[in-house]
Symmetry: C2
Subunit: 171 residues, 2 copies
Protein backbone atom coordinates (compact mmCIF):
# COMPACT_ATOMS: atom_id res chain seq x y z
CA UNK A 1 0.00 0.00 0.00
CA UNK A 2 1.49 3.34 -1.03
CA UNK A 3 0.85 6.55 0.89
CA UNK A 4 -1.02 4.66 3.63
CA UNK A 5 -2.16 6.48 6.74
CA UNK A 6 -2.18 4.42 9.94
CA UNK A 7 -4.66 5.14 12.71
CA UNK A 8 -3.83 3.20 15.88
CA UNK A 9 -7.06 2.29 17.67
CA UNK A 10 -5.84 -0.05 20.42
CA UNK A 11 -2.57 -1.19 21.94
CA UNK A 12 -2.93 -3.96 24.54
CA UNK A 13 -0.83 -6.52 26.35
CA UNK A 14 -0.72 -8.86 23.29
CA UNK A 15 -2.85 -7.33 20.51
CA UNK A 16 -2.84 -4.03 18.67
CA UNK A 17 -5.43 -2.80 16.19
CA UNK A 18 -4.87 -0.16 13.53
CA UNK A 19 -6.92 1.13 10.62
CA UNK A 20 -4.94 1.83 7.44
CA UNK A 21 -6.22 4.08 4.68
CA UNK A 22 -4.37 4.17 1.41
CA UNK A 23 -4.12 3.04 -2.17
CA UNK A 24 -3.44 -0.45 -3.59
CA UNK A 25 -2.88 -0.82 -7.34
CA UNK A 26 -4.68 2.48 -7.95
CA UNK A 27 -7.72 1.90 -5.70
CA UNK A 28 -8.61 3.56 -2.41
CA UNK A 29 -8.86 0.97 0.37
CA UNK A 30 -9.41 0.87 4.12
CA UNK A 31 -8.08 -2.08 6.14
CA UNK A 32 -8.73 -2.94 9.80
CA UNK A 33 -5.56 -4.79 10.86
CA UNK A 34 -4.77 -6.78 14.02
CA UNK A 35 -1.12 -6.44 15.03
CA UNK A 36 0.24 -9.53 16.76
CA UNK A 37 3.86 -10.50 17.60
CA UNK A 38 3.46 -14.05 16.20
CA UNK A 39 3.32 -17.43 17.90
CA UNK A 40 4.92 -20.86 17.95
CA UNK A 41 3.31 -24.30 18.34
CA UNK A 42 4.84 -27.72 18.86
CA UNK A 43 3.71 -31.20 17.82
CA UNK A 44 5.61 -33.27 20.40
CA UNK A 45 5.85 -37.07 20.51
CA UNK A 46 6.62 -38.88 23.76
CA UNK A 47 8.81 -42.04 23.79
CA UNK A 48 5.70 -44.19 23.14
CA UNK A 49 4.81 -42.15 20.02
CA UNK A 50 1.89 -40.43 21.75
CA UNK A 51 1.18 -36.76 20.99
CA UNK A 52 1.39 -34.39 23.97
CA UNK A 53 -1.76 -32.22 24.04
CA UNK A 54 -2.94 -29.49 26.38
CA UNK A 55 -6.53 -29.12 27.51
CA UNK A 56 -6.89 -25.41 28.16
CA UNK A 57 -9.63 -22.93 29.05
CA UNK A 58 -10.18 -20.54 26.15
CA UNK A 59 -12.51 -17.60 26.61
CA UNK A 60 -15.31 -17.53 25.48
CA UNK A 61 -15.37 -21.16 24.23
CA UNK A 62 -14.46 -23.09 27.39
CA UNK A 63 -12.14 -26.11 27.38
CA UNK A 64 -10.21 -26.72 24.13
CA UNK A 65 -7.77 -29.49 23.18
CA UNK A 66 -4.64 -28.10 21.45
CA UNK A 67 -0.99 -28.72 20.80
CA UNK A 68 1.24 -26.66 23.14
CA UNK A 69 1.77 -23.11 21.86
CA UNK A 70 2.28 -19.53 22.88
CA UNK A 71 3.06 -15.99 21.84
CA UNK A 72 6.60 -14.96 20.87
CA UNK A 73 8.33 -12.83 23.49
CA UNK A 74 10.28 -9.79 22.34
CA UNK A 75 13.42 -10.87 20.50
CA UNK A 76 12.58 -14.57 20.89
CA UNK A 77 12.95 -16.93 17.91
CA UNK A 78 9.97 -19.15 17.00
CA UNK A 79 12.09 -22.25 17.79
CA UNK A 80 13.00 -21.01 21.28
CA UNK A 81 9.38 -20.01 21.89
CA UNK A 82 8.13 -23.48 20.90
CA UNK A 83 10.63 -25.18 23.24
CA UNK A 84 9.81 -22.77 26.10
CA UNK A 85 6.05 -23.24 25.73
CA UNK A 86 6.40 -27.03 25.61
CA UNK A 87 8.25 -27.01 28.92
CA UNK A 88 6.08 -24.36 30.60
CA UNK A 89 2.80 -25.98 29.60
CA UNK A 90 3.63 -29.69 29.79
CA UNK A 91 6.83 -30.18 31.81
CA UNK A 92 8.70 -31.77 28.89
CA UNK A 93 12.02 -30.75 27.33
CA UNK A 94 12.58 -31.73 23.68
CA UNK A 95 15.91 -33.27 22.63
CA UNK A 96 15.06 -32.84 18.93
CA UNK A 97 13.02 -30.17 17.13
CA UNK A 98 12.48 -29.28 13.48
CA UNK A 99 10.27 -26.80 11.58
CA UNK A 100 7.04 -28.18 10.11
CA UNK A 101 5.17 -25.19 8.59
CA UNK A 102 4.39 -21.53 9.20
CA UNK A 103 1.06 -19.94 8.35
CA UNK A 104 -1.14 -16.87 8.70
CA UNK A 105 -4.29 -17.78 10.68
CA UNK A 106 -6.29 -14.81 9.26
CA UNK A 107 -4.32 -13.48 6.33
CA UNK A 108 -6.91 -10.83 5.44
CA UNK A 109 -6.62 -8.77 8.60
CA UNK A 110 -4.11 -10.18 11.11
CA UNK A 111 -0.31 -9.92 11.01
CA UNK A 112 0.08 -13.03 13.21
CA UNK A 113 2.21 -15.89 11.87
CA UNK A 114 2.08 -19.23 13.70
CA UNK A 115 5.27 -21.27 13.37
CA UNK A 116 4.74 -25.02 13.89
CA UNK A 117 7.47 -27.46 14.89
CA UNK A 118 7.81 -31.23 15.42
CA UNK A 119 9.64 -32.44 18.51
CA UNK A 120 10.80 -35.77 19.86
CA UNK A 121 13.34 -37.19 22.35
CA UNK A 122 11.29 -35.72 25.19
CA UNK A 123 12.61 -35.63 28.76
CA UNK A 124 10.58 -34.76 31.83
CA UNK A 125 11.31 -31.38 33.42
CA UNK A 126 9.16 -29.07 35.54
CA UNK A 127 6.05 -27.44 34.07
CA UNK A 128 5.50 -23.77 34.82
CA UNK A 129 2.31 -22.42 33.19
CA UNK A 130 1.63 -18.68 33.12
CA UNK A 131 -0.37 -17.56 36.13
CA UNK A 132 -3.55 -17.01 34.12
CA UNK A 133 -3.31 -20.26 32.09
CA UNK A 134 -5.61 -23.08 33.18
CA UNK A 135 -4.11 -26.21 31.62
CA UNK A 136 -3.99 -29.98 31.91
CA UNK A 137 -1.76 -32.33 29.88
CA UNK A 138 -3.18 -35.30 27.94
CA UNK A 139 -1.75 -37.88 25.51
CA UNK A 140 -3.35 -39.17 22.30
CA UNK A 141 -2.42 -41.35 19.35
CA UNK A 142 -2.10 -39.46 16.09
CA UNK A 143 -4.87 -41.57 14.51
CA UNK A 144 -7.21 -40.66 17.37
CA UNK A 145 -6.46 -36.95 16.83
CA UNK A 146 -6.99 -37.24 13.06
CA UNK A 147 -10.37 -38.80 13.74
CA UNK A 148 -11.22 -35.93 16.14
CA UNK A 149 -10.42 -33.41 13.38
CA UNK A 150 -12.61 -35.30 10.92
CA UNK A 151 -15.47 -35.38 13.46
CA UNK A 152 -15.18 -31.63 14.16
CA UNK A 153 -14.10 -32.18 17.78
CA UNK A 154 -10.75 -30.41 17.19
CA UNK A 155 -11.30 -26.97 15.64
CA UNK A 156 -8.07 -25.14 16.46
CA UNK A 157 -6.09 -24.06 13.39
CA UNK A 158 -2.58 -24.74 14.70
CA UNK A 159 -3.56 -28.25 15.87
CA UNK A 160 -5.26 -29.02 12.53
CA UNK A 161 -2.45 -27.56 10.38
CA UNK A 162 0.34 -29.27 12.33
CA UNK A 163 -1.33 -32.70 12.48
CA UNK A 164 -2.47 -32.73 8.85
CA UNK A 165 0.84 -31.36 7.53
CA UNK A 166 2.79 -33.90 9.57
CA UNK A 167 0.57 -36.69 8.26
CA UNK A 168 0.79 -35.48 4.64
CA UNK A 169 4.49 -34.74 4.51
CA UNK A 170 6.46 -36.40 7.32
CA UNK A 171 4.77 -39.55 8.62
CA UNK B 1 -15.97 -16.85 32.56
CA UNK B 2 -18.25 -15.85 35.46
CA UNK B 3 -18.84 -12.25 36.46
CA UNK B 4 -16.86 -10.98 33.44
CA UNK B 5 -16.69 -7.27 32.71
CA UNK B 6 -16.47 -6.33 29.05
CA UNK B 7 -14.69 -3.18 27.92
CA UNK B 8 -15.31 -2.45 24.23
CA UNK B 9 -12.20 -0.82 22.76
CA UNK B 10 -12.99 -0.75 19.04
CA UNK B 11 -15.96 -1.38 16.75
CA UNK B 12 -15.13 -1.22 13.03
CA UNK B 13 -16.57 -2.24 9.70
CA UNK B 14 -15.60 -5.92 10.17
CA UNK B 15 -13.68 -6.26 13.44
CA UNK B 16 -14.43 -5.44 17.05
CA UNK B 17 -12.04 -5.61 19.98
CA UNK B 18 -13.01 -5.95 23.64
CA UNK B 19 -11.09 -6.57 26.84
CA UNK B 20 -12.76 -8.94 29.30
CA UNK B 21 -11.86 -9.07 32.98
CA UNK B 22 -13.24 -11.88 35.07
CA UNK B 23 -12.67 -15.19 36.76
CA UNK B 24 -12.10 -18.65 35.20
CA UNK B 25 -12.06 -21.70 37.48
CA UNK B 26 -11.25 -19.49 40.46
CA UNK B 27 -8.49 -17.37 38.88
CA UNK B 28 -8.55 -13.69 37.87
CA UNK B 29 -7.91 -13.34 34.14
CA UNK B 30 -7.82 -10.59 31.51
CA UNK B 31 -8.48 -11.44 27.85
CA UNK B 32 -8.07 -9.23 24.77
CA UNK B 33 -10.65 -10.61 22.32
CA UNK B 34 -11.21 -9.90 18.61
CA UNK B 35 -14.88 -10.04 17.70
CA UNK B 36 -15.48 -11.23 14.12
CA UNK B 37 -18.72 -12.36 12.39
CA UNK B 38 -17.11 -15.49 10.92
CA UNK B 39 -16.18 -16.44 7.38
CA UNK B 40 -16.69 -19.09 4.72
CA UNK B 41 -14.20 -20.54 2.24
CA UNK B 42 -14.71 -22.84 -0.72
CA UNK B 43 -12.49 -25.49 -2.31
CA UNK B 44 -13.99 -25.57 -5.80
CA UNK B 45 -13.11 -28.01 -8.59
CA UNK B 46 -13.72 -27.12 -12.25
CA UNK B 47 -14.85 -29.78 -14.76
CA UNK B 48 -11.20 -30.71 -15.42
CA UNK B 49 -10.57 -31.33 -11.70
CA UNK B 50 -8.54 -28.15 -11.33
CA UNK B 51 -8.83 -26.10 -8.12
CA UNK B 52 -10.11 -22.53 -8.58
CA UNK B 53 -7.78 -20.15 -6.71
CA UNK B 54 -7.77 -16.38 -6.24
CA UNK B 55 -4.62 -14.28 -6.33
CA UNK B 56 -5.45 -11.33 -4.11
CA UNK B 57 -3.71 -8.30 -2.64
CA UNK B 58 -3.54 -8.64 1.15
CA UNK B 59 -2.24 -5.72 3.17
CA UNK B 60 0.52 -5.64 4.40
CA UNK B 61 1.79 -8.84 2.71
CA UNK B 62 1.11 -8.14 -0.96
CA UNK B 63 -0.20 -10.77 -3.40
CA UNK B 64 -1.42 -14.02 -1.79
CA UNK B 65 -2.80 -17.21 -3.40
CA UNK B 66 -5.94 -18.45 -1.62
CA UNK B 67 -9.14 -20.41 -2.07
CA UNK B 68 -12.15 -18.08 -2.52
CA UNK B 69 -13.54 -16.85 0.80
CA UNK B 70 -15.20 -13.96 2.56
CA UNK B 71 -16.87 -12.65 5.68
CA UNK B 72 -20.41 -13.71 6.63
CA UNK B 73 -23.00 -11.00 6.08
CA UNK B 74 -25.60 -10.43 8.78
CA UNK B 75 -28.04 -13.34 8.90
CA UNK B 76 -26.19 -15.21 6.13
CA UNK B 77 -25.47 -18.95 6.50
CA UNK B 78 -21.87 -20.13 5.96
CA UNK B 79 -23.07 -22.21 2.96
CA UNK B 80 -24.72 -19.22 1.27
CA UNK B 81 -21.68 -17.07 1.99
CA UNK B 82 -19.35 -19.65 0.41
CA UNK B 83 -21.51 -19.83 -2.74
CA UNK B 84 -21.80 -16.03 -2.93
CA UNK B 85 -18.05 -15.47 -2.54
CA UNK B 86 -17.25 -18.10 -5.16
CA UNK B 87 -19.43 -16.31 -7.69
CA UNK B 88 -18.38 -12.77 -6.73
CA UNK B 89 -14.65 -13.54 -6.76
CA UNK B 90 -14.37 -16.06 -9.60
CA UNK B 91 -17.51 -15.89 -11.74
CA UNK B 92 -18.45 -19.54 -11.08
CA UNK B 93 -21.69 -20.95 -9.68
CA UNK B 94 -21.46 -24.31 -7.90
CA UNK B 95 -24.03 -27.04 -8.65
CA UNK B 96 -22.89 -29.12 -5.67
CA UNK B 97 -21.51 -28.07 -2.27
CA UNK B 98 -20.80 -29.91 0.98
CA UNK B 99 -19.21 -28.98 4.31
CA UNK B 100 -15.54 -29.95 4.79
CA UNK B 101 -14.46 -28.55 8.18
CA UNK B 102 -14.88 -25.53 10.43
CA UNK B 103 -12.10 -24.12 12.57
CA UNK B 104 -10.97 -21.23 14.75
CA UNK B 105 -7.96 -19.49 13.15
CA UNK B 106 -6.77 -17.98 16.47
CA UNK B 107 -8.66 -19.77 19.21
CA UNK B 108 -6.89 -17.93 22.03
CA UNK B 109 -8.18 -14.46 21.24
CA UNK B 110 -10.45 -14.34 18.17
CA UNK B 111 -14.12 -15.38 17.94
CA UNK B 112 -13.83 -15.94 14.16
CA UNK B 113 -14.83 -19.37 12.82
CA UNK B 114 -13.94 -20.19 9.20
CA UNK B 115 -16.33 -22.68 7.58
CA UNK B 116 -14.79 -24.57 4.65
CA UNK B 117 -16.78 -26.27 1.89
CA UNK B 118 -16.05 -28.42 -1.17
CA UNK B 119 -17.82 -27.57 -4.42
CA UNK B 120 -18.10 -29.10 -7.86
CA UNK B 121 -20.43 -29.01 -10.92
CA UNK B 122 -19.26 -25.45 -11.62
CA UNK B 123 -20.98 -23.28 -14.21
CA UNK B 124 -19.70 -19.95 -15.46
CA UNK B 125 -21.60 -16.86 -14.31
CA UNK B 126 -20.50 -13.25 -13.88
CA UNK B 127 -17.86 -12.30 -11.31
CA UNK B 128 -18.50 -9.25 -9.18
CA UNK B 129 -15.70 -8.59 -6.69
CA UNK B 130 -16.14 -6.03 -3.91
CA UNK B 131 -14.96 -2.59 -4.95
CA UNK B 132 -11.87 -2.70 -2.75
CA UNK B 133 -10.87 -6.29 -3.66
CA UNK B 134 -7.99 -6.67 -6.11
CA UNK B 135 -8.31 -10.22 -7.43
CA UNK B 136 -7.34 -12.49 -10.31
CA UNK B 137 -8.49 -16.11 -10.83
CA UNK B 138 -6.01 -18.96 -11.39
CA UNK B 139 -6.30 -22.76 -11.70
CA UNK B 140 -4.00 -25.36 -10.16
CA UNK B 141 -3.87 -29.13 -9.75
CA UNK B 142 -4.32 -30.31 -6.18
CA UNK B 143 -0.88 -31.97 -6.21
CA UNK B 144 0.71 -28.68 -7.27
CA UNK B 145 -1.03 -26.88 -4.37
CA UNK B 146 0.03 -29.57 -1.87
CA UNK B 147 3.62 -29.10 -3.04
CA UNK B 148 3.27 -25.32 -2.58
CA UNK B 149 2.11 -25.87 1.02
CA UNK B 150 5.06 -28.17 1.67
CA UNK B 151 7.45 -25.59 0.20
CA UNK B 152 5.98 -22.77 2.33
CA UNK B 153 4.67 -20.89 -0.73
CA UNK B 154 1.06 -21.15 0.51
CA UNK B 155 0.77 -19.86 4.08
CA UNK B 156 -2.93 -19.06 4.40
CA UNK B 157 -4.76 -21.11 7.05
CA UNK B 158 -8.03 -21.67 5.20
CA UNK B 159 -6.22 -22.81 2.05
CA UNK B 160 -3.96 -25.15 4.05
CA UNK B 161 -6.78 -26.55 6.23
CA UNK B 162 -9.16 -27.13 3.31
CA UNK B 163 -6.59 -28.72 1.00
CA UNK B 164 -5.03 -30.96 3.67
CA UNK B 165 -8.42 -31.99 5.14
CA UNK B 166 -9.77 -32.77 1.66
CA UNK B 167 -6.67 -34.85 0.90
CA UNK B 168 -6.78 -36.68 4.24
CA UNK B 169 -10.50 -37.39 4.39
CA UNK B 170 -12.22 -37.06 1.01
CA UNK B 171 -9.86 -37.67 -1.89
Amino acid sequence: MDRATRHTKFRGRILGLSVYEGEIEGRRVTREIIEHPGAAAILAFDPDGMVIMVNQHRFPRGRVLEIPAGTLEEGESPRDCALRELTEETGYMAGSIKPLLSYYPSIGYNTEVIHCFVASDLKEAQSNPDEDEIISVERYTISNLLEMIRAGRIQDSKTICALLAYTAYQS
